[in-house]
């Protein structure tokens, strides 16, 4: 016999460990388990909405609290000649459209948007990965745009369609009307006193301060008011939600 007890024991440990691991991963892959796990998202959202109410403000900071470097994540540089042409033209011809369930569909140039009343706020950006950065955002309150367009009563969500693709899929995100009309929800065109850099979503991005970073759609071209999320993408309300099972409600 050449198998030592130590080797036998460590072999057993590795085998048992391996079996346990693959069992865990099989459980993780079961659709019934996944839908049970996902049921907590609704509970979390309802609880946080009850505790925070509609209008509780995300903490705002001072210029002394700004991150020295505001990290860029996800798409740093949208691919394609169309975006590159916009970038070289200083986004002079970029249009933000607001359409769908609205009374007066809009198509606004960046010059028009920058001439509207702006809100400037120093807030903390929290990535789902765990890091945070504090930046000063300037933009037009989304409420002003929605009031201009006149939401129809059947509208329940806003879908933000972006100029960047992530992997092969176009990036998009969505929020409901509670967050859409929140006083800190802005379409930001400025960061830290300058125009929004390409890495952070130039020329315009969503800030929805009570949720995690992936909800803050960058490079926004179209805002669509809809009554349901089902018709866009795979129907879960966003690129990460559709393709990677991230929660649609990202308050935690």
């Amino acid at each position: 016999m050449t198998i030592s007890r130590r080797r036998l024991l460590s072999g057993l440990a590795v085998t048992t460990g391996g079996l346990l691991l693959s069992a865990c991963d099989k459980i993780n892959a079961l659709p019934s388990v996944r839908s049970a796990l996902k049921s907590a998202e609704g509970l979390t959202m309802r609880s946080q909405r009850v505790i925070a109410g509609r209008d509780a403000l995300a903490p705002e900071f001072t210029a002394a609290d700004l991150s020295p470097v505001f990290r860029s994540n996800g798409t740093y540089q949208p691919a394609g000649s169309a975006y590159e042409a916009h970038r070289q033209a200083g986004f002079a011809d970029w249009k933000l459209s607001i359409a769908g369930l609205v009374q007066r569909p809009l198509s606004l140039s960046m010059a028009q948007i920058r001439s509207m009343p702006a809100r400037t706020q120093i807030t903390r950006h929290d990535c789902v990965e765990g890091w945070s950065a504090i930046g000063q955002w300037t933009g037009v309150p989304l409420k002003l745009l929605l009031d201009m367009a006149g939401l129809r009563s059947s509208a329940r969500y806003l879908i933000f369609r972006c100029a960047d693709r992530y992997g092969a899929m176009p990036y998009y995100e969505s929020i409901d009307l509670i967050d859409a009309f929140h006083p800190q929800t802005i379409m930001a065109w400025g960061l830290n006193g300058a125009l929004l850099p390409v890495g952070n979503g130039a020329p315009i991005r969503l800030r929805v301060e009570r949720q995690l970073g992936y909800k803050h759609a960058k490079y926004v071209e179209h805002i669509q008011a809809v009554d349901s999320l089902n018709e866009y993408g795979l129907g879960k309300g966003g690129y990460w939600e559709d393709h990677h099972d991230y929660a649609w409600y990202a308050g935690i």
Binding site: L21, D25, A40, C127, V128, E129, E209, Y246, I252
Partner: protein
């Protein structure tokens, strides 16, 4: 020691409360304690393993409100070349094979902080880890609230866990430490009650680590920051809360290791049985 109102209790063994040369069976754990213990054990294990996966998404810890890659991290797990590294302040520890750089079950080299055998799921998925973490967070919080209320009402906190004055005397504490080092555990009637080190260990989990880890978890939520901004003041910012959350998890792992060691040393069958059925066989007096 009543059993009438105890729906979880198994039929008591025949030697119930009959002295048998100093040995007898006692009812050691009430049903709320036992129920919570096992639900909490499962929830904590899932929370820990899914939490380690969430940490893998950004294996750096900071103090203060913000912290990202260009900011100074006080703890960092990563790899350089063919070495896994844990960087704590200015100190570097090589952790190849375990942290930062390891091979998975299929023999493929991975550059992630915590290895596959310690995380849920075993291969990298922040989204899946978050599903597990935030589902079991509700179970953890729900069962902890149940246990808190039950233990206040049934006297578990007051009569079993709260140290009494003479137990806090340094001499008494020292005597208990010496007894533990010599692996001499109480016998007979003395084994019916928790020792002072046990009380301190259990209270540090129930009254300190669990509330802290729940509160720091909530502090990381941007929606909770809007609802309860005082959480940020309490912990000194979101990234500080994230660090404290991680340190609490480390504290719970330390408790778990000591807890398991003590159960094994004190007689695993008797101890585990008492946490399942409630009945504990008092160890025989040496005298």
């Amino acid at each position: 020691m009543t059993t009438a109102e105890d729906p979880m209790s198994a039929t008591p063994p025949p030697m119930e409360r009959t002295a048998d040369g100093g040995r007898c069976w006692v009812k050691r754990h009430r049903w709320p304690t036992r129920l919570w213990h096992w639900v909490n054990a499962v929830a904590m294990l899932v929370m820990l393993m899914s939490g380690l996966m969430i940490f893998n998404a950004h294996p750096r810890l900071y103090w203060g409100d913000y912290g990202a890659n260009s900011d100074k991290a006080w703890l960092q797990i990563g790899s350089r070349g063919d070495k896994g590294l844990l960087v704590l302040g200015k100190e570097r520890f090589e952790t190849t094979g375990v942290l930062g750089l390891w091979t998975d079950a299929k023999g493929i080299e991975r550059r992630r902080a915590f290895p596959g055998w310690a995380t849920i799921p075993s291969s990298y998925s922040l989204a899946d880890a978050r599903l597990w973490h935030f589902f079991f967070a509700w179970i953890l919080v729900g069962s902890a609230m149940f246990f808190f209320v039950a233990s206040l009402l049934n006297g578990h906190f007051r009569t079993d866990l709260l140290p009494i004055r003479h137990e806090l005397a340094l001499r008494h504490i020292w005597a208990d430490i010496v007894a533990h080092v010599r692996l001499r555990f109480p016998t007979g009637a003395a084994a019916k009650r928790y020792g002072i080190l046990q009380k301190v260990a259990y209270l540090s989990v129930i009254a300190l680590l669990l509330p802290l880890i729940i509160l720091t978890g909530l502090t990381m939520s941007p929606a909770m920051n809007a609802a309860w901004p005082w959480l940020l003041d309490l912990f000194g910012g979101r990234q500080s809360a994230r660090s404290v959350h991680f340190l609490c998890a480390a504290g719970l792992v330390l408790f778990f290791l000591v807890h398991i060691a003590m159960v094994v040393l004190a007689g695993p069958i008797n101890e585990v049985r008492s946490m399942i059925t409630g009945w504990y066989r008092l160890p025989e007096d040496k005298a």
